[in-house]
Symmetry: C2
C-alpha cells in the first residue's frame, strides 16, 4: 500500500483554484503509483473559512468540489476535508469532515470530534462534534480517519476535551491512522506537533500519517511539516517546512521503523521563513505584487524592508524616507544605505512642510498649549498619509513595521505608523527583531550595523529615545511574554522576581491600549499568542488598568 | 415569597465597582422585604469578559466577589453569575455558573449548559457545559436555575444544541424558573426575548423570572427588559429598557396570571435609545467626558452630533467643520446651523493648505498622473489628522460617523473618515440614518431639513454624488441586509428579484473591503449582525470577489 501526502497551499473560497491544484496532485500521485492520496482539513474551501461557512452557497460549492474529486478517484483513494451539512435539526448546521473517496464512491465520512475553540480557532462556532466512529476498509487495511485536533487530546497535560476519538476507533482495530490537519505555525509548533503525533503512536501502537496545510491566510501561517511516524515512535519522514510537497510512502516500510529524519528547528530561522511566506502569500492571494513602506533608519523598518525584498523581489518594493527636523543624520544615512544594499527604489519626502501647515491650521485652537504627544502624532500621521497616497496612486500595499513590544504597550500612533495592510513584525518582540536582523545579516551586512547598534528612537522630538518612556526592552519583553503568551497575572509575575511597580505599569499599558490594537493591521502570527483574532480582550474593561 | 430582579450596568473587570453596586441592591431589596434577589450572568466580572477569563487572577477576584456576596446574604437569597474553576483536568478550565447564596452559605451552584458560540459569543472558548442538574430548595420552594442561553433552545426553529437543560430539571418538579442573562440588544431582541420566555413557560408550565444586564460594553449594548412571566404565558411585568432598575415581585401574584404589560417596541426609537447608551457608556467606562467629531453638512455626521449632544451634553461635544474647495455652500451652512441648533462649540479649519502641501510634496512622484481616489483620500486623511490632533490635544474622543452601508461597500477612507474611537452608525444603514434623523427631529428641527433632503455626497471631487459610484441606497440597503443579516447568497438574492449583475457587484464590494473593516473602530451593535466580533470574515479569501 502506497500512501501519498500532499501538503498544499489552499486559498480560502477559491474553489476552482483549490480543486485544480488537488486534481493535479491526484494525477501526480497516481503517476507515482500511490494507492491513496491525503489532502488537508477543509481543503476544498481553505482554512479558516470563518463565517463564509454560514452561507449555503459556500457549502454547496464545497460539496461540488467533493463530487469532482470523487469523480477523479478512479483507481486511487482520496482523503480530503470538507464541510458537511448536519441532517439533524438540533445542533450546529455543519460537520467538519474527512471524506474517503475511491472509484467514484464515498467509502467513508468521518466527522471531526474535537473542535478547537481557543486562540485563533472558532470551530464550535460552526460545527457539531462527531459522536459516531468507524474505520474505513480499503485494500485489505482498516484505516482510522482523524481531523487535526482529533489527535491533540493525547499527550496534552491539560486536555481540553472529555472524549478522545481514537480511544473509540481503536476498538475497531485500525491498522494505521490518517490525520488531515490545518495546524498553524508558531516557532514552537514543529516540536509540539511531533510530540503529539508520537504520543498517539505510542498510545495506539500503529503508524500515523499526518498531512498539514502550508502557506499563509492573512495572519495565519501554515508551515507544513507533515509527518509520517512509524509504530516505534520514530519519525519516518517529515515533509519540508513552508513549501508545497507531495511524497509517496510505502506502508510496509513505515511499519519497519522510523529513521528520526527531522528538520532543524532554529527559532529565528523558522520565524524568518514564516514571515517571508506571510508576506508573499498576502500579496499573491490578494492579487497584488508591489509593496511600499516607510524607512526610518531604525531597525524595525530595516528588517521589514529586507524581508519584503526577499519575499517579493527588491524590484517590487518601494521605500519612502520621510525625515523631519528631529531626524538624525545617521538615520538618513542608514535608511539610504539599506535601500542601496537591497537595490530598492527610494524616495525622500521631508515632512516639515506638512507638519508646519498643520500647526498653522490649528494655531488658534492650540494657542498657549505646549508641544506634547499631539505634535508627535501629527508627524506620524503625515507620514501615514504620504505612504497611503503612494499606495493609492501606484497600487502598492503598505507594509506596517510596528513590532510586538510597541503594539503591546501602545507605543505607536494610530493612523500614523500603525497604518498598513499587514503587520509584518506585530508578533515579533523588539528583542527578537534584533535576532532577525542578525539572521538577515548572517552572510553579509544587508541591514547597516549602525541601525542594529544604536539606541532605538522614534525621533519625534529632540533627542528622544524609547528608553525615556519605556522600560529596557530586555526586561519589557520578558514581562510581556509572560503576560501575553504565558497568561501570567500580576501575582505570578512578581513571584518570578519582576518588580511590582514595573509589572503594574506594564500590564496597565497593555490593557489601556486595547483600543489601538483593535484598529491595527492583521498581524503575521509566529508565536503561540499573537495580537488579533487569537487574543480577544475587552476595550472598555477596567482590569489591571 | 418575594423575588427582586436587579437589572444593572456592570463594568468588565471592575470587581469593586460591580460588587459595591450589587451590595447596595441587596440592601435595597432587603429593605423592600425581598426573600431573594437576582443579578445577571457573570455579573461579578461583567460580560463579555473575553480572554480576561484565561487569567487565574481574574477568576480568583471573581470568586472573591462571590464570597463577599455570600457574606452579605444573611436573611436574603442572592442569585449571581460568576465563573467557576472546573475541578476536572479534562475539558475546559471553567464553568459559567449561577450561584445561589443564602445565610452565608452556598445553597446551590448550577453551571450553564448551552454555551452560545456564534455571532458575538465565544462561550465554548472558555467554558465546559454542565452535565448535572439540580433544583435549589429555598423557603419551601424548588427553584430551577438557568443561565441565559439555557432557555434559548426552546421556541427556536433551528435549535443549536442537542440537549435542553430544563427538560432535565423538570424531572425534579421545580415551582418556578430563574434565569440570569447577559443578552444583548438588537432592534428585534425585545420581541424575540418575550417569544423565547413564553415558549419556556408554555413548555414547563411554571413562572419564569428573567434578569438581564443593561448598559454598553464597547460595541455590545444590553437593553435590560428583564421580564416576569406568569404560567398563563402572559407578561406580568417587564423592566424598563436601557435603564438600571430593581423591582420586587410577589410569587403568589405572579402565579395568578399576567397582565400583558409590555413596552413599545418601535424600531427607530429603540435604536435611538441604544445608541445613546452606547455612546454614554463608552465614555463613562473609559473615564472620558468629551467628544469631538467632524461635521460635513451631511446627514451622518449631523445624526452623530445630535446623538452625542443628547448622550454627553452639548457642552461636552466639540465639532470641526473642515471645508475644501469641493465643499458646497449649503454644506457649510447646514453644518453651522446644526452646531448652533445643538449649542455646540464649533471650529472651522479649511483643509486646502494641507491638501496643497501634500500635493506639492508628492509632485515629483505623481508627475503625469491624473487626479484619482488618491487625492480624495488625502483630503479625508487630512481631516482625520486634524480631528485626531484635536482629540490628542484636548483629550476628546473622536466619534466616527461612517454608516453601515458605506462600511459594507468600503465607501470610506481608511485612516481618514474611518478614524474614531467608536463607530456610532456602523450598524445603521443609510436608509435607517434618515429614519433616525427624522426621529431626532420629531419635536423640532434639530438637524437642518436640507441635510436630510439633499442627495448624499462625500464632496471629495467637483459635483460628486454617492449615486455616481453606488447603487441607490434603498436598493443597496436591501441587498446588504439580505446578505449580511439574513446570510443569503447570490442565488437566493437573484431569486428574490434583485438583478444578477447588481447582486454580484454589491457582494464583491462587500467582500473585497474586509481589509478596511478589519481596521475600523468598534461598531455600536444594534442589529442582529453588526460588523466586528459578530461577523468574522477572511481577508485574503477569494469568494464572490
Amino acid at each position: 500500500m502506497k500512501i501519498a501526502l500532499a501538503q498544499l497551499d489552499y486559498h480560502i473560497g477559491n474553489f476552482d483554484g483549490n480543486l485544480q491544484k488537488m486534481l493535479a496532485a491526484v494525477e501526480e500521485a497516481r503517476a507515482q503509483g500511490a494507492d491513496l492520496i491525503c489532502f488537508g482539513e477543509l481543503a476544498v474551501c481553505g482554512y479558516p473559512p470563518r463565517d463564509f461557512l454560514d452561507f449555503d452557497d459556500f457549502i454547496r460549492r464545497s460539496q461540488d468540489s467533493v463530487q469532482a474529486l470523487k469523480a477523479a478517484s478512479k483507481g486511487i483513494g482520496i482523503l480530503v476535508g470538507a464541510p458537511t451539512p448536519n441532517p439533524r435539526i438540533e445542533g450546529k448546521d455543519l460537520f467538519n469532515s474527512a471524506y474517503f473517496l475511491y472509484d467514484d464512491k464515498i467509502l467513508g465520512i468521518q466527522h471531526k470530534t474535537l473542535l478547537p475553540t481557543y486562540d485563533i480557532f472558532d470551530e464550535y462556532r460552526y460545527f457539531e462534534p462527531a459522536t459516531e466512529y468507524q474505520v474505513v476498509e480499503f485494500k485489505g487495511h482498516k484505516i482510522a480517519l482523524t481531523v487535526c485536533e482529533d489527535i491533540w487530546n493525547v499527550g496534552n497535560e491539560n486536555p481540553l476535551y472529555t472524549v478522545c476519538p481514537l480511544d473509540e476507533m481503536r476498538k475497531l482495530n485500525p491498522d494505521f491512522v490518517l490525520n488531515i490537519s490545518a495546524s498553524p505555525f508558531s516557532t514552537s509548533q514543529a516540536k509540539e506537533r511531533l510530540h503529539v503525533v508520537r504520543a498517539n503512536v505510542e498510545r495506539y501502537g500503529v503508524p500515523l500519517f499526518y498531512c498539514n496545510h502550508v502557506g499563509a491566510q492573512t495572519d495565519i501561517i501554515f508551515d507544513g511539516g507533515s509527518v509520517v511516524m512509524s509504530p516505534d515512535g520514530r519519525v519516518f519522514d517529515e515533509l519540508p517546512y513552508f513549501e508545497e510537497a507531495l511524497r509517496v510512502y510505502d506502508l510496509e516500510a513505515v511499519k519497519q521503523g522510523g529513521v528520526d529524519q527531522e528538520q532543524i528547528k532554529d527559532k529565528t530561522a523558522l520565524m524568518h521563513r514564516a514571515l517571508l511566506v506571510g508576506i508573499g502569500d498576502y500579496f499573491r492571494k490578494l492579487g497584488f505584487k508591489k509593496a511600499i513602506l516607510g524607512l526610518s533608519g531604525g531597525i524595525d523598518s530595516a528588517v521589514v524592508a529586507a524581508l519584503a525584498a526577499e519575499a517579493l523581489g527588491a524590484d517590487n518594493v518601494r521605500v519612502l524616507f520621510m525625515p523631519s527636523q528631529f531626524s538624525s543624520d545617521h538615520s538618513i544615512n542608514d535608511a539610504r544605505r539599506l535601500a542601496e544594499n537591497l537595490g530598492m527604489q527610494y524616495d525622500i519626502v521631508p515632512i516639515q512642510p506638512m507638519y508646519a501647515v498643520f500647526e498653522t491650521a490649528l494655531k488658534n485652537q492650540f494657542a498657549g498649549r505646549d508641544f506634547d504627544v499631539t505634535e508627535e502624532n501629527i508627524q506620524a500621521r503625515v507620514r501615514g498619509t504620504l505612504l497611503m497616497a503612494m499606495s493609492n496612486k501606484f497600487g502598492n500595499i503598505l507594509l506596517n513595521t510596528t513590532n510586538k513590544s510597541e503594539m503591546a504597550v501602545g507605543y505607536g500612533t494610530l493612523y500614523g505608523d500603525m497604518c498598513g495592510g499587514i503587520s509584518v513584525l506585530g508578533d515579533v518582540y523588539k528583542t527578537e527583531v534584533y535576532e532577525l536582523a542578525r539572521y538577515i545579516n548572517r552572510n553579509e551586512e544587508i541591514i547597516p550595523l549602525s541601525s542594529i547598534e544604536k539606541p532605538p528612537s522614534a525621533e519625534l522630538r529632540p533627542g528622544q529615545k524609547d528608553s525615556d518612556s519605556l522600560p529596557p526592552y530586555d526586561i519589557l519583553d520578558q514581562v510581556l511574554f509572560q503576560y501575553i503568551e504565558k497568561v501570567q497575572g500580576p501575582k505570578e509575575l512578581v513571584a518570578m522576581g519582576f518588580e511590582e511597580a514595573l509589572v503594574k505599569r506594564i500590564l496597565r499599558m497593555v490593557n489601556i491600549n486595547e483600543f489601538k490594537r483593535e484598529q491595527a493591521a492583521p498581524v503575521l502570527r509566529v508565536s503561540t499568542k499573537a495580537f488579533g483574532m487569537g487574543r480577544r480582550m475587552p476595550i472598555v474593561g477596567k482590569y489591571l488598568s
